[in-house]
Symmetry: C2
Subunit: 330 residues, 2 copies
């Protein structure tokens, strides 16, 4: 039954949860019941709910370092302590998890901002560690369906035998960030508690957004759009890689094999903030990487995103970055 105009505090649009399960979650290898999904006002709201839900637990939140700074700010806002955990070419370093923690925030599909895939071994270790610590793993699958990795890996949630994973997905990267459509997948007890926090924060996500999104998915428009996006992004990713090898030999690139941005490091003394300012004058935008680090350092990394750069302009942009880098005597 559609819920276009009625209040919907207790129940999400059934067509929407059906479509999310069928079109997005199955694709990510996740098979859950309807009462294990909760619709939110975008992924940020999902994080807000979890941040609030676990605020009373004194243990820290283990957090990828570098990691998604908006999540870190949100956890701080609700007085959660953060325990940074280093990231390497295989993703979050599970050997360096703290002894005690309530949650570990991760982006296994495409570590943000380094874009590496969490290795198979680390995935298993992460789940075992959470079980030992009596903690939960937040899997922020922010690029759901977009990964473009040569060998796509199912979500961590897909191998979660003990309900330790709280999965967060959204349509922001594939459909539009403006509709604010996100969702949490977790054990039904967590979903039940999350629904109470949701009702206190916004009562429920707008019904009109739920119903229109359900229709958009049901008619297959999202699948078609997603395939086009994947094709475009995959093409751009390869142009980026080739261009970086050609124009930016003075920098080192991470080991990522997919994602919608590249994570680049300069020599130790390199200041990416200054570099970003210089590039901006020439019409090229890069994102200095220090903001993703717990301590705000090092300063020598930056991120180049390409979803909003026309394919034909990518190589020119990289050439400008290379020219500026040479002038800076890197």
């Amino acid at each position: 039954m559609p819920i276009w105009t009625s209040e919907a505090v207790d129940i999400d649009c059934p067509d929407l949860t059906h479509q999310l399960r069928k079109r997005l979650l199955h694709y990510r290898g996740i098979n859950v019941a309807e009462d294990e999904i909760l619709v939110t006002v975008g992924a940020q709201h999902a994080l807000c709910i979890i941040s609030t839900l676990f605020a009373d637990d004194e243990r820290p939140i283990a957090f990828e370092d570098p990691g998604y700074q908006e999540a870190r700010h949100l956890f701080h806002l609700y007085r959660n302590r953060i325990a940074p955990v280093p990231v390497d070419g295989s993703g979050i370093d599970t050997r360096q998890l703290p002894v005690e923690y309530k949650l570990v925030y991760t982006t296994p599909g495409c570590q943000f901002p380094s874009m590496v895939n969490l290795s198979e071994d680390r995935r298993d270790e992460l789940l075992r560690a959470a079980e030992r610590a009596d903690a939960f793993v937040i899997e922020d699958d922010y690029e759901v369906g977009l990964l473009g990795h040569e060998k796509p890996i199912s979500a961590l949630k897909a191998r979660d035998q003990n309900d330790r994973v709280i999965y967060i997905g959204s349509l922001s990267k594939t459909l539009s960030p403006s509709i604010r459509m996100g969702f949490i997948v977790a054990h039904r007890d967590i979903i039940k508690a999350a629904k109470i926090v949701r009702s206190l924060t916004v009562r429920h996500p707008p019904s009109i957004v739920q119903e229109t999104t359900a229709l958009f998915l049901a008619h297959g428009y999202h699948d078609v759009h997603l395939n086009k996006l994947r094709e475009t992004y995959s093409q751009r990713w390869h142009i980026m890689r080739t261009g970086i090898e050609r124009h930016l030999p003075m920098f080192s690139r991470g080991q990522a094999t997919g994602g919608t941005s590249f994570w680049i490091a300069g020599p130790d003394h390199f200041d990416a903030r200054k570099f970003a300012q210089q590039l901006q004058k020439r019409g090229v935008l890069i994102e200095p990487g220090h903001i993703f680090f717990h301590e705000g350092t090092p300063k020598n990394t930056f991120r180049i995103g390409f979803p909003s750069v026309a394919t034909a302009k990518i190589d020119d942009g990289l050439q400008i970055i290379g020219e500026e880098a040479q002038m800076n005597l890197i």
Copy 2:
């Protein structure tokens, strides 16, 4: 410029804020600039933002008793202390405000759940008291435009010379609760801070909801709908009052002259919860009043709402309430 598909963390839909100012705020006597309004995911989200924003201030939140329980729960969720302040026939009793408080939560237009108007004297005193205490007044104008009082009074915000009032409005009661359209009106410094909290909680309210609501308002549909609602509710209110006098002489009714529900009290020993259960068996729903009180007592009050009761059925319903009351030997 419409923002249908773009992310809108920093700016709200300009057409929407224009329409809210022109069609709703001016009607309530409020004239503010665009940077003094912030759109939220319904009034609950507005309260969530304020609750978060003031959480670090150790002083309590003064709170109408009885009062809107969802706001009380929300303030508790974010660790704010509550100082209950009694309500009488003139609204919140400003003489009983605590010495220290950071916020006072009020519903001046139509005190919830007693439905009384905050008197002129109390309005002035509330603003003076807030100035003395260096505190802010939350004006939850939840029935914006619907009041139906014989002598409508402008919003408290309209007489706020010192930017002490944080006004909250929504379209939930007039248009639909399902769209989750709310807004905060306050000093631009508060709006600026609120926008940061908003971005951390949901990033921004869905653009599609902002744009469709702006269009709905701009075309005058909301005005027309509001006038119809006012007419219907005013008619029902008078039928309710007449029916209560006829069928419920064993109860006492508050001094409200408007609103969309009636606040009724039985004798001291009367148990409204049991009474509600009995009435439910006969197909009549009332809301026991203890949930609105800080301490969960007294138990002898209840609320009868009429927005979702057909006009023709009101008198029959009241008659059933009267019959049941007589059988309970009240």
